[in-house]
């Protein structure tokens, strides 16, 4: 458990220490990246609980989703269509679904343990 935690702490401190300014129009990319990352994270947790977790799928999904979302936003900026809204919508819906599934499974586990 110590290595992923170390990575998280290192990433957070790097992010807080970075002092790069990005242009305002590219800030939507960042918000999408955040959503994509969170979505994949919760997807991974769900898969773990459902015993279908595979780290190849998880890792490739993480980076691929971030890249896809950024590409979509990039295309949107250059076409003048707010395509990043599509990404935000898709990821938002999936995020809620994943969290709902996780909650239900945790609840089932808890009640099973209580009954036992």
């Amino acid at each position: 458990m110590w290595l992923p935690l170390l990575g998280l702490i290192l990433g957070i401190s790097l992010g807080l220490l970075t002092d790069i300014q990005i242009p305002e129009i590219y800030e939507s990319y960042l918000s999408i990246a955040v959503l994509a990352a969170l979505d994949t994270l919760f997807g991974g947790i769900r898969a773990q609980l459902q015993h279908v977790y595979d780290d190849k799928v998880f890792v490739s999904g993480f980076f691929f989703n971030i890249g896809l979302a950024a590409a979509l936003a990039f295309l949107g900026v250059h076409l003048g269509v707010d395509l990043y809204l599509a990404a935000i919508f898709a990821f938002g819906v999936r995020l809620f679904q994943n969290i709902a599934v996780i909650r239900r499974m945790l609840l089932t586990k808890w009640s099973e343990r209580k009954n036992a």
């Binding site: 990433g11 957070i12 970075t18 990352a37």
Partner: protein, 241 residues
Amino acid sequence: MKKRNQLLKIPSRGRILISLVSLVLGFILAYSYSIAVENEAERNSTSESFLEQTKYREELIKQKERNKELTEEINESQQAIRELEQTFANSEESAEALVKEAEKLRLLMGDIPSQGKGISVSLEDGAYNPSQENPNDYIVHESHVFKVVNELKISGAEAISINGQRLRANSFIRCTGPVITIDGKTFPAPFTIEAVGDPEVLLASVHLGGGVLDQLTSDNIVVTVEEKGNITMPALRDEKS
């Protein structure tokens, strides 16, 4: 010893990948957080300065309106005084001369508007002459403007203006580089000097042999003298805006 071994053992590929993922995740979260904080601070500061600006602008507008009201009040009072003097003059013959004197002095101070026949003299820089090294030899200086203004005053001009800026008794004309400052306002060449008064007298005095016109022409200045049928000059008020 066992735990130590566990710590030192080479982590599995999955662990490394997950660590990488959590590193990227942490970086993205922290970075977007810091950017959001910066944006928030920026927005606050801009809205504050904007509010301040609006406040000062409103204050300025209010002051200007007040100024305008007061100026109108002055004009009204001046008019009332003149009317009173007129009635006074009608009733008493001896006071008539004094009233005329007061009128003349007011014109001199630029307190009341002036209107009537007159002339206009425009001074322009001479054409660029490459053979002359010093451009001072063919541009209009404030001394030239002085000469014309003095000549017009001597010839009995009621009111004089330069490029629309009316002169009063205590006006100042200063040379400030390539332009001229009159009562704190700058004017570039060419200068059009307008004077209200008897056009015949004024023209004659300007055209006098060896007089102003000749002196200016010998200084390479392009002078145009015109007779004007009707010149209107507004009353002069201290409006620094």
